[in-house]
């Protein structure tokens, strides 16, 4: 079904905005687009905006974890923002919040990265 990815190269992070439904069927596209941006364009930190994500299951957790490992190996960090309540439960269950930071908005996510740098 409908799934869209918007990528923006911000000064200190790659901003990835997801829209629609992220499941096993759409996860491959996200993996390919993010791998590409991280490897070819050398993105270090990633801000993942879930504001317009209407559905996500454990296949989404898998791609996010995979991309986290990719940037963490180079010393990068990942911040997830605008996470809907039902997705917070998925993130909590999987322990993803132990390695990925949560922020209320893109601004807050970027500000948090600045401070940490």
């Amino acid at each position: 079904m409908a799934f869209q990815i918007e990528l923006e190269q911000h000064r200190k992070a790659l901003i990835v905005r997801l829209k629609g439904e992220l499941d096993h069927h759409t996860a491959d596209l996200l993996k390919a687009r993010m791998e590409d941006a991280i490897e070819r364009e050398g993105a270090l930190n990633v801000v993942l905006s879930l504001r317009e994500l209407s559905f996500m299951d454990s296949s989404g957790l898998g791609v996010i974890l995979g991309r986290y490992r990719q940037i963490a190996a180079k010393g990068g960090r990942m911040v997830v923002c605008d996470v809907a309540p039902h997705l917070v439960r998925l993130f909590e269950m999987s322990g993803l919040f132990k390695i990925v930071t949560m922020a209320p908005s893109e601004q807050a996510a970027l500000a948090g990265l600045e401070v940490a740098l």
Partner: protein
């Protein structure tokens, strides 16, 4: 409690194509909508159907497009029962499969959280599986309808 309990049922079958993951969860959600669930309950139902159907496609049929996935749902009073079945590979060690973060396909970036999510979101979960025979996931959840919440609040 009224003497006559509302009952309904549906069966859905489709080939093991990843295109059908989205279709299956929307169809089951539309069926369950008859109970006027909250948005959170509907999201739980969509998520567990997505997990179980994805597993049938990836693990049961290992990506082959010609397997048949069967989804059954019944409503009995306030309880929704959902079954997802495949005639695929089957599970050798069910206890191991249920462990959080365990996956037999790390190369596909599976998170190993499917069964954990299903068991968390549903009131009852049962896994029936035998190697070479296929897998049946049985789940049940009581729906606190919005209509009822409105009445008692």
């Amino acid at each position: 409690m009224s003497a006559s309990v509302f009952r309904n049922a549906m069966t859905l079958q489709f080939p093991s194509l990843s295109e059908n993951e989205s279709f299956a969860r929307v169809a089951v959600a539309a069926f369950v909508s008859q109970l006027d669930p909250t948005l959170d309950e509907l999201m739980d139902i969509k998520t567990v159907v997505s997990e179980a159907v994805t597993n049938a496609i990836i693990h049961g049929y290992e990506g082959r497009p010609d397997g048949i996935v069967t989804v059954r749902a019944t409503i009995e009073g306030e309880t929704v029962r959902i079954e997802v079945e495949d005639q695929g590979k089957g599970i050798e060690d069910i206890e191991q499969a249920r462990q959080p973060l365990y996956t037999s396909k790390p190369e596909l970036e599976r998170s190993g959280m499917g069964f954990t999510i299903i068991e968390n979101f549903m009131d009852e979960t049962e896994i029936v599986s035998a190697p070479g025979k296929g897998t049946l996931i049985r789940m049940a959840k009581r729906i606190e309808s919005r209509r009822k919440q409105a009445l008692f609040n």
